[in-house]
């Protein structure tokens, strides 16, 4: 009897243990992206190791990795053009408060092969799910979904949203690296990186880290000047404009 219990306990352990058996160790090539005068975007590399201890059972399914980067949050306004008589105008709009302005989802193979749509929804994986709040009711808000799809499409076009299904490379069975492209239009502020390890559609381990995008040097000086000494900044701009205008009339004067 006790022997049976022990076997049961061990079986349960091996079944439950995976959540703890693998550990993700990850880091990022830089924790700060500095915006200087010649800044045209940057690339970071997330790299790490899936650490297994001796007790880890060997798995039939290979490891999968999904890396989600969420940028600073802002209020986004999405408008839809509709026909009104002969013209097309923006008639309806939806607010998406507190939405990440930058979103990048990288994985080692297509998300649909890694996990089921239900899991993706629950785990907030993929562009459409990454920022969806947990549904409060069972009402399907069809217009909202349409607006959200439109928003994702527009932001993907601008390069601010990206889904890269070959973005994570396993260098060995357990060693991985993933480049993260930060376009020049990505806003300044904090960025969060969530790394989740899957196997057979089941999350095994998680790790998160972060980086920030900041203006430095002249760029920072001008931006803070514009906000904190706005009157002087305005005077300086006007003076510069009039000076250049006067200079041109002197330089080009012929008579």
């Amino acid at each position: 009897m006790s022997r049976r219990l022990l076997i049961l306990a061990m079986f349960l352990l091996t079944a439950l243990a995976p959540a703890r058996a693998e550990t993700l160790i990850a880091s990022i090539s830089s924790h700060q992206i500095q915006i200087t005068s010649n800044y045209t975007g940057d690339q970071l590399t997330v790299f790490g190791l899936v650490e297994r201890d001796g007790r880890t059972a060997s798995r039939g399914d290979p490891y999968d990795l999904v890396i989600t980067v969420r940028g600073p949050r802002r209020m986004l306004l999405v408008r839809e053009k509709e026909r009104l008589g002969p013209i097309w105008i923006n008639r309806t709009q939806r607010r998406f408060p507190d939405s990440p302005v930058f979103l990048s989802v990288s994985s080692n193979r297509p998300l649909s092969e890694i996990l089921s749509p239900d899991t993706a929804l629950r785990e907030r994986i993929g562009l459409a799910n990454a920022d969806r709040p947990p549904p409060l009711s069972f009402d399907v808000d069809a217009p909202l979904a349409r607006f959200q799809a439109g928003m994702i499409r527009m932001l993907e076009e601008k390069g601010l949203y990206a889904e890269n299904e070959r973005g994570v490379t396993f260098l060995s069975g357990t060693l991985f690296s993933a480049p993260i492209e930060v376009p020049a239009t990505a806003p300044t502020g904090p960025y969060e990186i969530d790394i989740v390890l899957y196997s057979g559609g089941v999350p095994l381990a998680r790790q998160s880290t972060n980086f920030e995008v900041v203006k430095t040097g002249l760029e920072q000086g001008l931006a803070t000047g514009a906000h904190e000494r706005s009157f002087l900044y305005g005077l300086a701009t006007v003076a510069l404009a009039l000076l250049l205008g006067w200079l041109a009339s002197v330089v080009f004067r012929r008579d």
């Binding site: 986004l76 013209i87 105008i89 607006f147 205008g245």
Partner: protein, 309 residues
């Protein structure tokens, strides 16, 4: 070569901005219009946030009209007295326009108002000017004087209203009321559309008051210089949306372009001047018509409210 704009928060090609502002500056020097109505949509098209585009173009227009004002001043083609009346009227109109702008923004219909006003203003003004230019060209061909001359002792009825003032440089003796009224309307439109209003002022002064073209251009540039200097300060203090690096690039291109435009204007006869200005204004209007009428490929647009920056 790219440079990062600290307020617009994106990198932009230096050569492209210089070329663009040079071309717009040429047009602005040629016609005595600020050029804001061309430059602002172009910058928005390059992904620069609308608020930054409008505010920065104000600075650029101030600088390039400074050049023009000095040039016309030396050629004695600037009526300070008329300019003063226009400035005072323009300030009143701008205040009214800003109030209207803010109330439309609260109602969420600002974009529609802007688009529709661009369409109606540009097509109507451009169309009228084109019609007039073609008609006078036909008259010239028929051997008649191209333009009905102002006869001694005759004048349109609005010039005879009370408070008549003599404007020597403009060879005008007319009531202040319609001139100030025109300036109020233009200030109002300028504040709502974020343009200097030179493209309305120039034809209006030529058609309604028969002022010599050269004086109209110089005086219009003076009015634009004053209002746009004020607008730059207002934008810098209230919205912090003036990008000094972008403004510098636009200015360098703009002032150089305006010089060549000003030279070219001297070699251009009045008829073709009016025809070209009409076609330019009409084509901008038609561009907005197309945007309104053609079914959009992407019905959605995403806006980052400026306050969130």
């Amino acid at each position: 070569m790219q440079i990062y704009l600290p307020i617009a928060e994106l990198p932009i090609s230096i050569l492209m901005v210089l070329g663009l502002s040079g071309a717009v500056g040429f047009i602005s020097g040629l016609f005595g219009v600020g050029g804001g109505f061309l430059l602002t949509p172009l910058l928005i098209f390059l992904d620069i946030p609308p608020a930054v585009a409008v505010a920065t173009v104000a600075a650029q227009v101030a600088g390039s009209s400074m050049t023009g004002v000095l040039t016309y001043w030396r050629r004695r083609a600037l009526d300070l007295k008329l300019g003063g009346v226009l400035v005072v009227g323009g300030i009143v109109g701008t205040v009214l326009g800003v109030l209207f702008f803010n109330s439309m923004r609260r109602l969420g219909q600002l974009e529609l108002v802007i688009n529709l006003s661009y369409v109606t203003l540009f097509t109507i003004i451009g169309g009228l000017m084109l019609y007039d230019a073609i008609r006078s060209a036909l008259r010239v061909r028929a051997g008649q004087p191209g333009r009905l001359r102002r006869q001694a002792g005759t004048h349109p009825p609005w010039m005879g209203l009370p408070w008549r003032v003599r404007f020597h440089r403009s060879r005008l003796y007319a009531s202040v009321i319609p001139i100030a009224g025109l300036a109020v309307v233009i200030g109002f439109i300028g504040a709502v559309l974020g343009v200097g209003g030179g493209f309305i002022l120039v034809p209006a002064l030529i058609y309604f008051f028969r002022i010599p073209t050269a004086v109209v251009v110089g005086t219009s540039l003076f009015q634009i210089l004053v209002t746009m200097t004020g607008a730059t300060m207002l934008h810098a203090v209230t919205n912090q949306s003036v990008d000094i690096i972008l403004a510098t690039l636009l200015l360098i291109g703009g002032v150089i372009g305006a010089q060549f435009g000003g030279r070219a204007a001297r070699n251009l006869n009045v008829e073709s001047f009016r025809l070209l200005l009409a076609l330019l204004i009409l084509s901008v209007g038609l561009r907005f018509v197309i945007e309104l009428v053609v079914p959009p490929t992407e019905p959605f647009s995403v806006i980052l409210p400026e306050s969130a920056r």
